[in-house]
Every structure is written in C-alpha cells, then in structure tokens.
Symmetry: C2
Subunit: 393 residues, 2 copies
C-alpha cells in the first residue's frame, strides 16, 4: 500500500542533523550531544524507599485510572510551592513531561498557519511540536540577554495571526543564556500590547548553580496571558515523565480536554512518587546536591574549552542548565566540523538543528556537560582540540 | 484577555452527557458508569516485588530518559508473544496507553476534513481523539455480529477521502459484542478494495471469560493496511499507562515522530515493570484469575438485570470486556431515565455519548460491571428496578 500521511507532519523529515545524531549512541562514542541528567544526580535511594511505601500502603491508588488534570495532592503542592506564579485566574495541570505542555498548548490555541514567534535558536523538540500542527515559525534573534526586542516587535507587527511567543528564559536550550529581567518585562509588555500569549518554558530554572535568580515572566502576569511549563525531568527523573503547566483556567480547561484524548492521564504511580519526594522534606537538599554536581561538571568542561579550544571556539559560560553554546570562527564550517567530530567518536549537535529554518547559516554547535563522565569530558575535549588544530592548519 | 482557541477543538464541548458523568464521583454514588478494572484484579504483590528489584538492580534504567519507540526488551517480548499479528513489514511502538495510539494514528494519517468510519456506537475517547484533528466521523450501524457490511460499503463509496475504519472487534465498548470472523474478513476485504486502512482497537481481547477466541483482523493483514492497538490497562494496570501499536513500518515511523513531540517516551519505569511481569512467568496465571473475577461480576449483573429489569431492559450478555449495553423500550426516554437514575445515586452512561452525532436518537445506556462491588451491583440494580417500574406506570 502507498501510505498517504497528513500534511502537518510532512515537514518533520529526517535531516542531515538527525543523521549525525544517530551516531551519538554508537558504542565508544563520547556523547556531548544528549541532554540526560547525570546518573549520580538521581535520588535513587529515596525514590526506592518512597516506592516501597506506596506499594505497601496504597498500591491501588498507584495502579488504577486517575483524573486527567493530575493527582490532586501533587497539584496542590505545586500551587503552594509556586504560589508566586499563580494569578487569581490561573489553574495547574500535570502533564507527561514538559514536552506535552508544548503539544497541548499548540493543539488548544493554534489553527494551521497561525504564527508562533520563537527564539533563534530554540529547543528542537518544541519547534517540532509547533511544526506538527502546521504552525508557521518566526524566529527572533537571541542575544546574550534574551530576544532582540526590536526584532520581536517587528515580528509581532508583521504577523497579526501570531498566537504566542515561545521563550525559555532560564539557561536557554541550546544557547545557555538567561533573559534579563528588563527583557522579560519588555516581552511581556509587547505580548500584552499585541494581544498574543507567551509560552514560558522553564525546565532548567531549579538548576541554577551560579548568579542570582531572575523572576519568571509568569510571576508578573496580571493579564492572564502566560502559559508556564515546568518539569521534574532535570531535578528528579525524566524517565517518570512528570511536568506541569500553569495558565489561565480557560486555557487549562482546553489543554485538559486535549490531554484526555492524548493519553488520558500521566502515570499516576509517577505522580505519587514525585508528590512524596517533593513534600517529604528531602527535595531542597537534593536540589543543592544536583546544583553542586552540575556546577562542577560545567566548570570542568568550560575550563577545558578555554584551555584547549581557544581561540577557535567562543562560548558563554552558563550559570545553570545542561548546555554550552559554542561558536566557530567564519573560516571553519560548522557542519563539516560536526561530521568530522562524530567520525572521531565525539558527538555534538549542529546549531542549525535549533533554527526555525534549518537551512539558514549557523556557525555554532551545542555541547552538554551533564551526561558525559569527567573522564569523557577530558578525552572528548582533547579530540575536539586536535580536530580543530588540524582543520585550522 | 479573550482567549481564541483552535477550531479543531471547538467540537469538544461539555455536553449534557458529561454533566451527568460528573455526578458519578459524588460520594455515595453507585457508579455503573466507569470503566476501571476491579481493585482485586491488580497483581499488586507481584508488581511490588518487581518494582523493588528494579530499584535495587537498575534504578537509573528506570529513571533516565529513554527512546521514543519504547523499551527494546518489552518491544521484543510483545513481538514474540503476538508474532501472529506481525507481518513481514510491521513494526511495534510502545505508547502511553492505547488512547495514544488513536491520537498518533490520526495525527499521522488524517488531514482536517478527512473521513474516519466508525462503529455506531463506539468508544467516546477515540471519537473525541478523531474529532480533535477535525476529522469527519461517519457512523456505520453496529449489529450483534459487527458492523452492517452493506452500510460500510455505502459509506466507503460515499467518502472517497476516508482514511481508516475504526473497529473494536472484541467486547466492543460500549456495545459489548464481538465482530464475527466473517465480518472481520468482509471489513478487511472492503478496506483493501477501497484503499483505506483499518484501526483495530483491542483493549479487551485478553479478558475473554466465555466462548471461543476469534482471530484479530491484524492476523490476516497481508497487505499492510491494519494498525493494531493493544493495551495493558485492563490486564495489568491502567495507572501505569502502557499500550502499544503494531502497524506497517512506515506508519510506525510517522507515529514515532508524533510521539516524540507529544511526550518524548512512555514512562520507562512503567515499561520495565510491565516487561518483567509479562515475561516473569506469572502473566498467564494472572490472566486466568482476572477472567474469573470478571466472569463472576458480569454473571451477577446480568442475572440481576434479567430478574429485576426485565421486561423493560433488553441486553446481550457479553463474553468478555467490562460493559453491558442495555436498551429501553420506545415508551421510556433514555436521557430522562439516566438523569433520574443519577438523582437516586446510580450512574450509568447515556448511549448517545457513544454516537458520532450525539443528537441522533438513542434509547440505550451503558453499564459497567468491573468497578462496583458485588454489594453495589445488587443495590444499584434494585434502585434501577424501582425507578423503571415507577416510570413505566
């Protein structure tokens, strides 16, 4: 049979980039390409204990069907913990990871052809979620302190059918930067002025290991225009698939309908486990310990980059998150460099993967410091260093 | 702000039916409206043991990110267990419950306005998944042995943009019937002839407690036109959210892309747990024990219906699944009956909820025998019996 697929997914074709990424799981490969939490960052003993208690005390609660909105005690715990994010008209839904927030928000809000304004570069998983609803992506240059505000306003003017602005304000994936408070406020004001919503994606906020916290855009949302996405993937476990959205109640209501027909509800066992760990008194200590792990791993990778990849590679040292955004000089072709690196068993992600239009010029690549061991970081940077000096000859 | 939502979800409005369903969780309510497995049907002790072993031996495997296609050993175990369903060109993906199969199949295959041919009545969760992609639903009358084949052919003739035929061949939800082998073959031949696919949804197949098994349509799919949906919700646990699809490899490839941007992957803890239980040597015995539970509960409800609701209510005794489809005589208005029942603390589901067009006439309602206790079944049928004699006066 000749299968005919929906138009909406025609743009989701395997690309050169994904071909390179395939190699990142080859045995012997040093992967700087993933975004996995470090194995030592999982609270395995605490979770094992909580899990045993759940099976002992209330196994049926953990195994039976549950409600689409999510486990009520977990929703209440999150509403209380993040009360500064909730306005009077807001509600909260538990999702199957934060990825599902992008999916549900787009499904609820966007007709085919509607515009979503994105940071350039931005997270490929979100961009593909938007593309899968036939939304039109418009990229706005990301600077060291967030989106270029003039370009954002121009994009809003040019696209009256823009539905929302998608931002990752903390330790942006892939760029690693934080949007300044001034720019957060400016983005909010422009969204309000042009009658569009904001989708604020914050999976890395709780990983800050340096510098001062910056208020979330959602925290000053007096007009009910911000959808906030949170996640436990980076601070407890990604495998459990627990995230959440905070948004105006009518938006959460539509997202709930969309979630019901997507997966009915998020694993209730996962929700019970996360709830107990979050409220059991160990979470704050755990956050401190993972911040310390990432502070060290990030420090190691950055100091080796400075020592061994300079002057070819320039980068901004991140204050949290999992990623470092590296830029090559004009004389070195990024895609050829990435291909050569993977042939020498070091995988990095070509920066063009993160563009709204992958065919645009890009001379950056993304590395990750949470997944590789310290030894792999040392060896991997050595390989990249040798490769660069050969190419630069 | 005035929120403007996507057109595709405008048809997913709260209805009178959903208003009635709201009451089904009111304290004191005897719910014949749910579809939950019986609490005593969960293998809690075995799962507790397996879970403890997972946390002891390989916690990181259960908590880390995993691949979108699903846990390879689980996929292999399913391919081996259901080898008679897999043709040479087929692949298998693990999903977050079987509901996600409907979502991913529709997202992959259907443009807005494409037609999906459904049994009339059919499962509301699937119908809403189809509606949420702006697919047009065409209902074909369900008879005691499956779809009316003449009407199916007429529907295929009239709708050249039909994408697939949606069938629940075993213990259909809500009608409780099985499609005969003859009709399964006829549906397959028509699909082949008219160049449309079949989405075969089989969540209840493994619950058969009476009669002979009938081969799945997928088992004679030589042309690669059947997408098969399976689930562990009814036979292990719905709370874990583990289902799967078997379909031609190009279709699974597109569904995988759509899953990646929906929820990245299904809880890997859930997948490890299901894999160990499925392959650990206890699954067949467990299936026998839940069949016995449902045979008894179904028998109790049916014998009470015969004794106390006759001659008003007619029904077909199911040989598996969780539901009984009851039909009222012309003189009794179904919706008024359901409203009156819920006021007396017995919830049943109005049959019109399961129609492709809820405004069409329907004098049936659905009851469930797996969720209520035996005592609740006895008391609930008593209440319905009294209500019917009062209405019939």
């Amino acid at each position: 049979m000749d299968y005919s697929f929906a138009d909406r997914i025609s743009s989701l074709q395997p690309s050169v980039i994904r071909e390179i990424l395939k190699f990142s799981s080859v045995p012997g490969m040093i992967s700087f390409a993933a975004g996995n939490p470090a194995p030592e960052a999982f609270p395995t003993e605490q979770l094992a204990k909580i899990s045993a208690e759940i099976y002992k005390e209330r196994p049926i609660d953990a195994l039976q069907y549950s409600v689409t909105e999510g486990y009520t005690p977990l929703r209440n715990a999150l509403k209380s913990r993040y009360s500064y994010l909730l306005g009077g008209g807001d509600e909260l839904i538990i999702t199957s990871g934060a990825q599902q927030v992008m999916h549900l928000a787009t499904k609820s809000l966007c007709n085919e052809g509607d515009v979503i304004i994105c940071e350039k570069p931005s997270f490929i998983g979100s961009l593909n979620a938007f593309r899968s609803f036939n939304a039109k992506l418009v990229g706005v240059e990301l600077e060291r302190d967030g989106m270029n505000i003039e370009m954002l306003e121009a994009a809003l003017k040019e696209n009256p059918n823009a539905k929302f602005i998608y931002v990752i304000p903390n330790f942006q994936n892939p760029a690693g930067i934080c949007t300044s408070l001034e720019k957060r406020k400016a983005i909010y004001q422009l969204a309000k002025q042009y009658g569009v919503m904001i989708l604020e994606d914050n999976p890395y906020g709780d990983t800050r290991f340096e510098g001062e916290e910056i208020p979330s855009i959602k925290s000053f949302d007096e007009d009910g225009i911000v959808i906030y996405a949170g996640s436990f993937s980076k601070v407890i476990s990604p495998g459990l698939r627990v995230g959440y959205a905070i948004a105006p109640a009518p938006v959460i209501a539509k997202m709930t309908v969309c979630k019901q027909i997507s997966d009915v509800h998020t694993s209730i066992y996962s929700q019970l486990l996360v709830h107990e760990f979050l409220t059991g008194g160990q979470f704050e200590q755990h956050l401190l310990s993972i911040k310390e792990i990432y502070r060290k791993k990030c420090g190691l990778m950055c100091s080796l980059f400075e020592e061994k990849l300079s002057p070819y590679v320039t980068f901004e040292k991140p204050q949290g998150g999992l990623f470092i955004w590296c830029t090559l000089p004009d004389g070195i072709d990024m895609m050829s460099f990435c291909k050569a690196a993977v042939e020498r068993n070091v995988a990095v992600v070509p920066g063009s993967a993160f563009l709204t239009d992958e065919s645009q010029p890009c001379n950056s690549f993304r590395t990750n410091f949470s997944t590789p061991t310290d030894e792999q970081i040392v060896n991997g940077v050595d390989i990249l260093s040798k490769l660069l000096s050969e190419i630069a000859k």
